[in-house]
């Protein structure tokens, strides 16, 4: 097997995550799909690290994980505070600015 298959897996997971963001409307599930996309990107970075034979790709994947953790903390806090005021976690209901 050629290790490039890891890149195909990563592309497939990223695509599934992106489609999920477009299809689903529950804010929590949307966030999970974004996490899936970040994980797919990490897999690609790790594979690139192996391709080039140095560890920089792994360092960047590590920083991606840190940023993802910070993003999830803030994002879930926003979801909880929206849920408190609007009593819904659906992104369709957050339309106060709509004409």
């Amino acid at each position: 097997m050629n290790p490039v298959n890891y890149l195909y897996l990563s592309a497939l997971l990223f695509t599934i995550g992106a489609s999920g963001v477009l299809i689903r409307r529950n804010a929590i599930v949307l966030f999970m799909c974004v996490e899936l996309m970040l994980n797919a990107a990490n897999l690609a970075l790790v594979t690139f690290s192996r391709l080039h034979g140095n560890l920089d790709g792994q360092i960047i994947a590590f920083f991606t994980m840190v940023v993802a953790a910070a993003e999830v903390v803030v994002g879930l806090a926003i979801i909880v505070s929206i849920f408190r005021t609007r009593h819904s976690a659906s992104v369709d209901d957050t339309n106060l600015m709509k004409l």
């Binding site: 477009l22 929590i28 897999l43 192996r50 994980m65 803030v74």
Partner: protein
């Protein structure tokens, strides 16, 4: 064979048979989990599917010589982030179930088509790239994966590492600011609550317990009204919203009917035709309960102003 040796063996451009078998097993699990995340209706099931995908990816990292990242993936992603997700699913609760109603016509199909096109483009791009010589991490990992990463983080990437600290502090403060609520009025005392209940007159007494006069007294079995129909207020609203109410009243009504007819046979009486019982009041569904709660809340706010 350690992951370092595995990655070193990959320098030729092909992996060992063991890694190939592992990859195909993990790829099926990862893609299945990803599809489950997108397609499952309940957020909890999505979260569990995503956790499965992340575990499969962690093993992929380790197989590729990224031992430290594999462990971090398990500890941080499946350990911390997924627990945070489950915590929020628990907080937000069952009322956040996705509606299947489409607000934009044909949006779902258009989105799926976009996703398909995007995937085809991405995969075709990778297939056209010439990526046939993999150097492998044998040399880079020769002093140990963790040591190699540490050397890079604290030399070339030390500035990014320090900025990460600022990012994490900002995120923690942001989460606290967003979820903190200042209490501006005093908490209602027990007397005030009782007075409000009497003034509103909706339900003055405490709510009736579940299972009264039903066959069981489990929490998910509604109590029965005198005419044998169920009283849905007796069941916890969360169970009502999930549709997890077990109704045993039909069973009991049927048995009572049998008993009556046996008695009537014995006494030689003819029973009048039995009318079908209808609920004396409209059953309280999840939506109605929410509306009632909403109405009560707006009233409360109006009172405060």
């Amino acid at each position: 064979m350690s992951p370092v040796q595995l990655a070193a063996a990959a320098a030729t451009g092909t992996t060992s048979t063991g890694e190939a078998v592992q990859f195909w097993v993990l790829a099926v699990i990862a893609v299945g989990g990803a599809l489950g995340t997108v397609l499952m209706r309940k957020a909890v099931h999505s979260a569990l599917c995503l956790a499965g995908t992340m575990l499969a990816l962690a093993i992929c990292y380790m197989a590729q010589g990224a031992v430290f990242l594999g462990v971090v993936q398990i500890v941080v992603y499946t350990g911390a982030i997924m627990m945070l997700f489950l915590f929020v699913v628990m907080l937000v609760g069952v009322t956040s179930a996705d509606s299947l109603k489409e607000t934009l016509k044909g949006q779902r199909w258009a989105a799926a088509l976009c996703g398909l096109g995007f995937g085809v483009l991405l995969i075709a791009g990778i297939a056209n790239a010439h990526l046939h010589t993999f150097s492998g991490l044998g040399e880079a990992n020769s002093g140990g994966n963790v040591q190699g990463l540490a050397r890079l983080i604290f030399t070339r990437y030390v500035w990014a590492f320090e900025v990460t600290g600022a990012l994490l502090i900002t995120a923690a403060i942001g989460a606290m600011v967003l979820t903190h609520h200042e209490r501006t009025e005093q908490r209602a005392s027990q007397r005030e609550l009782a007075e409000r209940r009497v003034r509103e007159g909706v339900q003055v007494t405490p709510l009736p317990a579940p299972g009264v006069y039903a066959r069981h007294n489990a929490v998910d079995i509604p109590g029965l009204l005198p005419d044998g129909t169920t009283a849905e207020v007796t069941v916890n609203p969360t169970l009502r919203a999930r549709g997890q109410i077990r109704d045993v009243s039909h069973d009991m009504l049927r048995r009572m009917e049998q008993l009556e007819s046996t008695t009537a046979d014995y006494l030689g009486r003819t029973l009048p035709p039995r009318r079908t019982v209808k609920s004396p009041r409209a059953p309280i569904t999840a939506g109605a309960a929410d509306e009632a709660a909403e109405a009560a809340r707006t009233e409360e706010e109006a009172e405060q102003q």
